[in-house]
Assembly symmetry: C2
Homo-oligomer: 344 residues x 2
DNA sequence: ATTAGCTGCTGATACGCATTAACAGGGTGG
DNA sequence: CCACCCTGTTAATGCGTATCAGCAGCTAAT
């Protein structure tokens, strides 16, 4: 009784046509006032008695939309390694989706493909959703072009370079936030800065580097280590050797191990070496230290992206480019410069 | 070019009929060997050139299945408060779904309803998925009956009492695991036990209480506090006053605050008071203490549930009842009894 | 009396695909 | 030479819904 009841069945029960049933269901529209409450009652009674619910598939088939948002992540969303990265995004998306009355379709990507996930795999189920939010650190540029070229509504979370056209996104202003960090360091007297993080790669890396460079001014880049995830001690050695008084890390993990190494050599942080982390991570890896950094508004990004997506869907708009500010986090690892030269 | 390409378009391009395109796509079936590789090539070329992908909705419409699993949670899945509870389940479900080639549809429930989420709300989208995994601490019994009565495939995560028929589920053996904890306490000499947790409510509460009672034997229930989330100090006072030497908590949070209170009164744990937590929580709340407890195999539960669901879908089986064992966690909060009477 | 307008409903069709009966053309066996 | 079987393809149909043109019966206006 719970399944497989169609409008035809209702129609038979109520002694009307299938079309009438449909009209009763989607009332207030074209046939407003044209169906007398008597008939309406009969139909609704039949619906109540059978527990009928409209088949969303057929509905979508006929109307084209089904109030489902796709969520595509370039990396698996839930494995613990990624959980901290994706969780706030998913939270924001779920919240907004529920508010707006959408369900969420998590696209798991091709099951076979060993390497990177692909949006456009053979049995692409993208179109089941009315539109799609795309998450991930590193997007596939070819796929992005394809998406931009097509008419399928999507919104990226995180700034994206144009790909054959502007990409609709909600990003975080890494450029501005990073620049602000540099300014703070300079205002505390730092003139020789070190940077540990790539100057190329995904947009999030580019932006941090650009913000850093732009705010450098008359200060000096004493050292630039492009590789992340290196050994702590060698890293620390090179930093000290360079004469840098403050280090900017794009990866929290690097900052944690370098800080550990520094402490183990009885170097004070920030006394002897200041540390800034360019971004935020939910769960501060096994460390009590509150790093000077900035907070990426992940939930808000996700909410805004979801809203933009729904707008694209509902109004056939093209979506825009939104940048949200990152809140500076004071922390306790950026201090005034402290060098021999201070006492000259 | 990326959107709205149908089999009809492909057919036109390749100079064949729509039916032929469909046959090429779902080959190896009825028309095996009946389509020459020449035609096949032409069609596949057109498909490649247009980037055509079958519309999953239409597919489902025609065939009845679409390789999508629904996931319904009775509480929002991602909010940080719930994250630790649901994350392992979602992880397990996603993993298995991807392996089996299913996508995931997160059903967000009615947007308007203020209170509890409902599966059967007005615009029930359940049927969009081939089947559904249901998560949550506390199920709606009426809805469960409706599900059991219907022919829609679903599997619950967590043991569920029959509701007009057996409920297919994959649960954790709280009864056995709790009983084992009680046995361990008794083997360490404890004879007066306290229990902080409800004896009624959802199955997970019932089972713990039942396991506790069953293993009590000649030991004594010195105190039973049904309310969880109470104030630490009063709780500790009552426990001490009761003469209990070990206390069992269903909620980690309670254990944490009571342990804190005990330490602040310079009571040793487990020296003066042993503590057992009946269950596991991913993120040990701000505490270094490793509580004696048992590990709920959440990921494995989710994997098994997802497998069972896929079996139900693919073979029209009814699903069964599976209980998984919980691994005891030694921890450091259950010690031998230590009382004046020890030295008699 | 013809037209126009309203009410209350229904028939037909489209949506994109899978499926199947069937057909045209050609070969084979009796 | 007819009956029969292959092979390659197609026309037709159904899935459950939304939508729209339109019909029958009536009243009001011209």
């Amino acid at each position: 009784m719970a399944g497989r009841v169609t409008q035809r069945d209702i129609a038979r029960l109520a002694g009307v046509s299938q079309a009438t049933v449909s009209l009763v269901l989607n009332d207030a529209k074209a046939a407003v006032g044209r169906i007398p409450s008597e008939t309406r009652e009969r139909v609704q009674k039949a619906i109540r008695e059978t527990g009928y619910v409209a088949d969303p598939v057929a509905r979508r088939m006929a109307k084209g939309l089904n109030r489902i948002l796709g969520v595509f992540t370039y990396e698996p969303a839930f494995p613990s390694a990624q959980a901290d990265f994706f969780a706030p995004f998913l939270f924001g998306i779920e919240e907004t989706a529920q508010q707006l009355g959408y369900d969420l379709l998590l696209l798991t990507g091709a099951p076979s493909s060993r390497g990177k996930r692909k949006i456009f795999h053979e049995n692409n189920r993208l179109r089941l959703a009315d539109g799609c939010v795309i998450l991930g650190r590193d997007f596939d540029r070819a796929e992005l072009r394809q998406l931009v070229a097509g008419d399928y509504p999507f919104v990226a979370v995180g700034r994206r370079e144009p790909a054959g056209g502007p990409v609709p996104y909600v990003g975080a202003d890494y450029v501005g936030a990073t620049a602000e960090m540099v300014r703070r360091a300079r205002s505390k007297g730092h003139r020789r800065l070190a940077y540990v993080g790539p100057a190329r790669g995904p947009e999030s890396s580019l932006d941090r580097w650009e913000g850093f460079r732009a705010a450098l001014g008359d200060a000096e880049l004493a050292l630039h280590i492009q590789d992340v995830g290196g050994k702590a001690l060698p890293m620390l050695k090179r930093i000290r050797a360079s004469g840098a008084t403050v280090v900017f890390f794009t990866e929290l993990a690097d900052a944690v191990v370098v800080e550990g190494a520094a402490r183990s050599q009885s170097l004070a942080v920030p006394g002897d070496l200041s540390i800034v982390v360019l971004g935020s991570h939910l769960r501060p890896l096994q460390t009590g230290t509150r790093f000077t950094s900035f907070a990426v508004p992940r939930e808000e990004m996700a909410r805004r992206a979801t809203q933009m997506l729904c707008e694209r869907i509902e109004t056939s708009s093209k979506g825009g480019q939104v940048m949200l500010a990152c809140d500076p986090v004071e922390g306790e690892t950026l201090g005034p410069i402290h060098e021999e030269t201070d006492f000259q």
